[in-house]
């Protein structure tokens, strides 16, 4: 009887100290992270299409293309599981992806020199898809950051930090704003 009481009391204390909410918030981070990965994946899925379209124009600059392909394979090799979202890991992921972003925007700028390609309906569709994907990536990142902030704030407050410590709820990393990303990239079409 006494043991039952202790268990019951313990359960009540735990749930009132937010253990269950921590689990819920942790799960919503996992979900938000999955969405971030999906959007990045969507971008890298578009690249073979883009490369094929651009390659059709025989004299297209080879280096720009190879840079994109290399950056893509590098970016897809960095995968992070949802329970390893430490600040370091996120920074690594972000670095690999931003290299690809850079290579892609260089490619889009160099397309300027090929009016036929730029005017083709296939390319303009791809471009709309790419832009849309970049938008989806930033929205997913914003939402991820918001869920992480909610979680981090929650587990670091007293007295929940004690429970969080006991059960190894660690603070999670954020996506940092990329350097120069406060100005929208100036790509003149």
């Amino acid at each position: 009887m006494k043991r039952l009481l202790i268990i019951l009391l313990g359960a009540i204390t735990l749930s009132s100290c937010g253990y269950n909410s921590m689990v819920e918030k942790d799960e919503s981070i996992t979900k938000a992270w999955a969405n971030v990965e999906t959007q990045y994946q969507r971008r890298s899925d578009l690249i073979p299409n883009l490369v094929a379209t651009v390659k059709g124009y025989a004299d297209f600059e080879q280096e720009t293309l190879t840079a994109v392909i290399e950056a893509r394979s590098k970016a897809t090799s960095v995968n992070i599981k949802a329970d390893e979202l430490s600040p370091d890991n996120i920074a690594k992921f972000q670095e690999a992806q931003s290299e690809l972003s850079g290579a892609l925007s260089r490619l889009l700028v160099s397309v300027e020199r090929y009016p036929d390609l730029k005017a083709s309906s296939q390319f303009s569709q791809l471009q709309a898809q790419l832009e849309g994907t970049e938008n989806r990536i930033s929205v997913a990142r914003d939402k991820f950051n918001a869920t992480v902030q909610d979680y981090n704030t929650y587990i670091r407050k007293f007295p929940k930090n004690i429970v969080a410590n006991m059960f190894d709820f660690e603070t999670r990393g954020y996506f940092e704003a990329e350097e120069g990303s406060d100005q929208a990239p100036e790509v003149a079409f």
Binding site: N35, Q39, S124, Q125, A128, Q129, E131, G132, N135, R136, I137, S138, V139, A140, D182, Q183, A184
Partner: protein, 271 residues
């Protein structure tokens, strides 16, 4: 002697607490306000013309068209004109507005935000169509881009904002209506039907209980029967009823935003 000292101490403590609260609120409030200040005020309908690009009549026409469409199909298309892109670029500003106001129905995410920032002497004009999660299939990014480039921007160049918005919303309505009709909405919404009524039933119950006990004591005090007291009290409070009427006056209009969500779909252009 001890008593006044104690109470003075308590007074000091209270003052200290109050001023602390005042400081905290005073410091926090401006920060929160300035972040929200940039956005237009949430409109009563589906047109928020902050930049003043439309005449009153044009605004009313667009609003009527969109509100009717909302009533018919549950899709919500919101037009926002703005002088400053609060999030730095048109896409993020449109998503932020859609997300903040909850454009579209919560379960379908079938909202669209059409954002226009007019050209000024030192910045280009921007137009963006942001689609909610649920409409990304019906209006793919490439389609949104075509709408912006073919329907909106050529007319916006000639400052003909009404015609551009009217055309664009007509196309959007055709596309969106194919995806979600009101039936889908009611079907999806039906699940939570009774549960969502529970709080209302609860309040009605409480209101009834209060009325009941009041009538009982009124009846006892005035030596009346229960129903006689009920009738007397009712006639006495009839004068307060007027305010209730306001509630239904909006029934022909816009019922409010439904809490839809945006994931980054859509496309835009500039001129």
């Amino acid at each position: 002697m001890r008593f006044p000292l104690e109470s003075r101490k308590r007074g000091i403590k209270a003052w200290f607490g109050l001023s602390l609260i005042a400081i905290c609120i005073g410091v926090l409030a401006p920060a929160q306000l300035s972040a929200d200040n940039c956005y237009p005020k949430k409109p009563q309908g589906l047109v928020a013309d902050q930049a003043g690009l439309l005449t009153d009549r044009e605004e009313a026409l667009l609003n009527q068209k969109l509100v009717q469409f909302n009533q018919k199909t549950s899709n919500q298309i919101l037009i926002v004109t703005i002088l400053e892109l609060c999030e730095g670029d048109a896409a993020m500003t449109a998503y932020a507005i859609g997300e903040k106001w909850g454009v579209g129905q919560g379960k379908l995410d079938n909202g669209i935000v059409v954002l226009v920032k007019p050209k000024t002497s030192d910045s280009r004009g921007q137009a963006f169509i942001a689609t909610g999660y649920g409409l990304e299939g019906a209006i793919p990014d490439a389609t949104a881009k075509v709408i912006v480039e073919n329907e909106m921007i050529p007319r916006f160049r000639g400052e003909n904002f009404y015609a551009g918005l009217d055309q664009a919303t007509t196309v959007l309505m055709e596309l969106a209506a194919g995806e979600y009709s009101h039936k889908d909405y009611q079907k999806k919404d039906g699940k939570g039907g009774f549960l969502s009524l529970l709080p209302i039933l609860f309040f009605i119950f409480i209101w009834f209980m209060i009325r009941y006990s009041r009538t009982r004591s009124y009846a006892r005090n005035n030596h009346l029967g229960f129903w006689a007291a009920w009738a007397l009290l009712n006639s006495a409070s009839r004068s307060h009823r007027g305010s209730f009427g306001n509630f239904s006056s909006g029934s022909g209009g816009f019922g409010g935003f439904g809490g839809g969500s945006f994931g980054g779909g859509g496309a835009g252009g500039s001129w």
